[in-house]
């Protein structure tokens, strides 16, 4: 039963959540693409393969790219159409303006073509200016020098694009690899996340005398999984809105530092791609920024990054929230009568796109494993490889959106105490991540290809 009052706030909970949250939509769209690709393959249709436009790498002569563009104009149009239609369905259901989204997304798509081409050039390859870096830099320059129109914001859905991309990425990762790497990722992530969490929390509360809840929210952002963790823990422990805003701002600032700094250090010191990706997965603060950093290195780095970040860190956020909510109610709310958290909190906070990532991986792994060698090769060529290209497009949209939404003037003025507490965590997280990824488990991550 629900009232019919005029209201902007929509009721939460129930089955409606399946279509009211970006997290679920990433699952529906990602898995939808995988299933459609498989159905088309079974009927011998090559539509997915034809729209998976992948620009040739290491080009030096622009006339070749121009020729490629003119030969693939229709395929690019169909690619735009497919992305526009599926994203628009989600955006409409999520309550945003369709016209604004289509116009904004079209601009993002065209800009992504330019970035894709730039990133594929020999010049970019020589100077390590991969497409993610171009996207970030171009996006940040535009966002910080010009005032973008309000309507454009509707299409800047960083989290939505990256989660859809991660579900697609699941289809390209054998499930056996996830199972083999899972325990190592969990071990590494847990040791480092706990060390970083405790550092930020104790520096925050004991040294800098910050409020317990504020310190917990900061610590979550700096150790577990960035903004998602800050908002989840902030909700669970009932942090002040300003405190959650400050934690998010700090995550964004450090994520931008890391997205440029980590790939630079990894390349400068010749750290192998596998351990490099695992280090980014451990020490970068946000999924989207981490994916940009890993994509600036190689496909192997994307794989180890994803295993580390998604399997080792993101999927445990629910358990962290349950524990912190319990501590908050029993220790920090001594004069209040809060309701004890229920175990259902763990599921409620679980990032649902991880389920899509697992299902996509399991589905393709079973199909490849149960097919004869000829059919398995055909699945790889006609389903998995095109999905990999579509995933790359979703990530380019993401990287561009990171740049376009990183408006330094809009970030909260954080104050030196939260900054100091968070930075203390960075000083633990980054070196520990390096030691685990390159020395203790370096051999293991190098073998994950």
């Amino acid at each position: 039963m629900s009232t019919n009052m005029k209201t902007q706030t929509r009721p939460s909970g129930g089955l409606g959540d399946l279509f009211k949250k970006e997290d679920y939509w990433a699952v529906w769209l990602g898995l939808g693409i995988v299933v459609v690709a498989l159905l088309l393959w079974t009927s011998g249709n090559t539509f997915i393969k034809s729209i998976a436009v992948n620009f040739p790498g290491n080009w030096t002569d622009f006339s070749k790219i121009a020729a490629f563009l003119s030969a693939n104009l229709m395929n690019l149009f169909l690619l735009w159409l497919v992305f526009t239609v599926i994203f628009t369905v989600a955006i409409k259901t999520l309550g945003h303006k369709v016209g604004e989204f289509i116009l904004g997304f079209t601009i993002i798509f065209i800009a992504s073509i330019v970035i894709y081409i730039l990133g594929a050039s020999k010049f970019s390859n020589h100077y390590n200016l991969e497409a993610p870096l171009w996207a970030l830099v171009i996006g940040m320059i535009i966002a910080n020098l010009f005032k973008l129109p309000e309507w454009f914001n509707t299409s800047l859905r960083t989290e939505f694009y990256v989660k859809t991309g991660i579900v697609l990425l699941g289809a390209t990762l054998p499930f056996t690899m996830i199972v083999q790497a899972g325990p190592a990722a969990f071990l590494q992530a847990t040791v480092i996340a706990v060390s970083t969490y405790l550092t930020i929390y104790f520096v925050g509360t004991r040294v800098l005398k910050l409020d317990h809840r504020f310190a917990a929210t900061l610590a979550a952002g700096g150790s577990i999984c960035g903004v998602s963790a800050s908002i989840a823990i902030g909700s669970a422990v009932k942090s002040e809105k300003q405190h959650v805003s400050v934690a998010i701002s700090l995550v964004v600032v450090w994520a931008i530092v890391m997205v440029i700094g980590l790939p630079f250090v990894i390349k400068a010191f010749g750290i192998p791609d596998g351990p490099g990706g695992a280090w980014i997965g451990t020490s970068e603060f946000a999924d989207a920024a981490g994916m940009a950093a890993a994509a600036a290195i190689s496909e192997q780095a994307i794989r180890t990054f994803t295993l580390m970040k998604v399997v080792g860190r993101d999927m445990w956020i629910g358990i962290w929230c349950f524990i912190m909510a319990l501590i908050s109610v029993t220790k920090w709310e001594k004069d209040e009568s809060g309701a004890k958290p229920q175990a259902g909190e763990i599921w409620y906070r679980f990032p649902k796109f991880v389920i899509g990532f697992f299902i996509a991986s399991i589905l393709l792994t079973i199909i490849v494993a149960t097919s004869n060698p000829h059919a398995a090769a055909s699945v790889t060529a006609d389903v998995i490889n095109p999905i990999k290209v579509l995933r790359s497009w979703a990530f380019i949209f993401t990287f561009l959106c990171i740049g376009l939404t990183t408006r330094f003037r809009d970030l909260t003025s954080v104050g030196w105490k939260p900054f100091a507490a968070f930075t203390a965590g960075v000083c633990v997280n980054v070196p520990l991540g390096f030691i685990f990824s390159t020395i203790i488990l370096g051999g293991f991550w190098q073998l994950v290809k």
Partner: protein, 122 residues
Amino acid sequence: MNINNETCVQRVIIQFYHQNFPKLKNKENKLITEVTLGKDIGPEDIRLWKNYLTERLERIAQMMEVLLEAHEDWAITGRKGFVQMETQSFEVNKVINVLSSHGFHKDEYIIKLEYTRKWGVL
């Protein structure tokens, strides 16, 4: 804080229980003694339950009126054992202050917070 600098949206959820109060930290709700029906019940138990429900539901209605008077944008749903009011445009401290200033104690309702990132944030 300048609203342009906020990076999250706060959803305040207030639950007014009339049945099956969740376990509270202080184990018993000081203001409300919930009447429930067990196995062996007689007519008098039903009357006690009726009186409890009448008082409790009236109290809930009063709290709802106070909140609706203070702010327009609420999503209200009747759920199993409780009524839930939610808003994304009225801060939690204001909610508590409004209820307190009208004589309602924190034991009479449960507040939950749910944050979401503002558009585009990483």
